[in-house]
Symmetry: none
């Protein structure tokens, strides 16, 4: 089970921290403001007051024990950059950083953040898609009847093409994408694409159909 | 084809406006700042300088002709609320409003916004989900290479089954759902389902493949 730390409990950081915690993960929330820390302490595993631009503070929090650290400091771009740099130098495995501007994002990427998030810009893209595609994705994600799941390709499917497997016809399932063992994601795979060992299919369908497939 | 207007060209508003436009929709961008309007004029259909809290300004822009209006005014909560109220009173069909705080969101909902967006909070939830289970839908939605679009079923497809149309094989497109004329949504349609007159296919695929299909 992975351990997460969130630095900067603004609206974005608070949301990441509490959502991860509600999903059953261990979460440490860090902020330089006591008020912010007190406000979140019941909604995460631990919460600590600290200045993340201090290497000593980060070390004393055992930050290198965390698999993923999310840097969600907003207004103070310098603090965001310095914190990210420190985390990289301390050897944190995976760093997610929120950026205010494209330039801020470029700097974060260059100094080693593994994923950059632009909440306003990214949500804008998502809302635009929702408005055009009749909320089908929301419909799928929010509907209790449907699920999107990852299924490790079973032995009998290896070497077969999607056309041969005919999942839509046989199981009423739709293969949205295939993620290969090297983590590459093939979205809307072609009918002739063959399953490889170690592939993971990302499939959408009605719950009972998904259950049926996993039982095979 | 629906007409969209976006009021408030901050990072969120700019992103909604340009994404909708890139997807082939008509978009009017409105902002009280000339600099903002000049900055977006090449990336939307039209851009206008106006104060959205003025009913006269909204009327002169023909705001009631728009199917969807997105209110993405940020810091000025009063302007956001007043604009939303005016749009509702003028009879705009569907209003999306961005909120800064939960309280702001509650007010917007009460005065008639159809959808409230909390970019930082909503992205926090999405990022948390992404960190726990690679979310292909985000990958699709945020990738500039892929689109999810609605395509009105052309005459030559009516009466044919998905299997016969073989869109995945012939066009590298994945039919996520079919919305029939009575607005019912059939998610993960079966391979034997036949297209009806008036059906709309909701399709995901690479942009060039989607262009190719719409040209047919
Ligand atoms: N050096 C630091 N160490 C720890 N926390 C910090 C540091 N600098 C800023 N923070 C915290 O980061 C949090 C988020 O920053 P801020 O509120 O400026 O961002 P924001 O972009 O407005 O946030 P959001 O948009 O997510 O609500 C604040 O609670 C702030 O106290
Ligand atoms: N009354 C108004 N009429 C038209 N535009 C307005 C009005 N009030 C504010 N705006 C515009 O709304 C835009 C977005 O507002 P602002 O920059 O305060 O929001 P923000 O929350 O920082 O945006 P984002 O987070 O999306 O970048 C600004 O470009 C501003 O000029």
């Amino acid at each position: 089970p992975r351990q997460f730390a969130v630095i900067g409990i603004g609206r974005f950081g608070a949301s990441v921290a509490t959502t991860l915690y509600e999903m059953g993960n261990d979460v440490l929330a860090i902020d330089s403001s006591e008020a912010k820390v007190e406000g979140i302490v019941d909604k995460v595993t631990h919460a600590a007051v600290a200045d993340s631009t201090s290497e000593i503070a980060l070390k004393s929090l055992g930050i290198t024990n965390f698999d993923v650290v999310i840097v969600s400091i907003g207004q103070d771009i310098q603090a965001s950059i310095l914190t990210t740099l420190l985390l990289k130098e301390l050897g944190v495995g995976y760093i997610v950083a929120k950026a205010r501007t494209m330039l801020h994002g470029k700097v974060l990427q260059k100094i080693g953040a593994d994923r950059i998030v632009f909440p306003e810009r990214d949500m804008g893209i998502r809302v635009a898609h929702n408005l055009v595609a009749a909320n089908v994705l929301d419909f799928i994600e929010l509907s209790p009847e449907y699920s999107i799941v990852e299924i490790i390709v079973p032995q009998y499917m290896v070497g077969k093409s999607l056309r041969e497997l005919d999942l839509r016809a046989r199981h009423d399932l739709n293969v949205l994408a295939i993620r290969s063992a090297d983590k590459k994601i093939n979205v809307t795979p072609a009918a002739t694409d063959r399953m490889q060992r170690g592939d993971v299919m990302i499939v959408v369908g009605k719950n009972d159909k998904i259950q049926a497939l996993s039982r095979e």
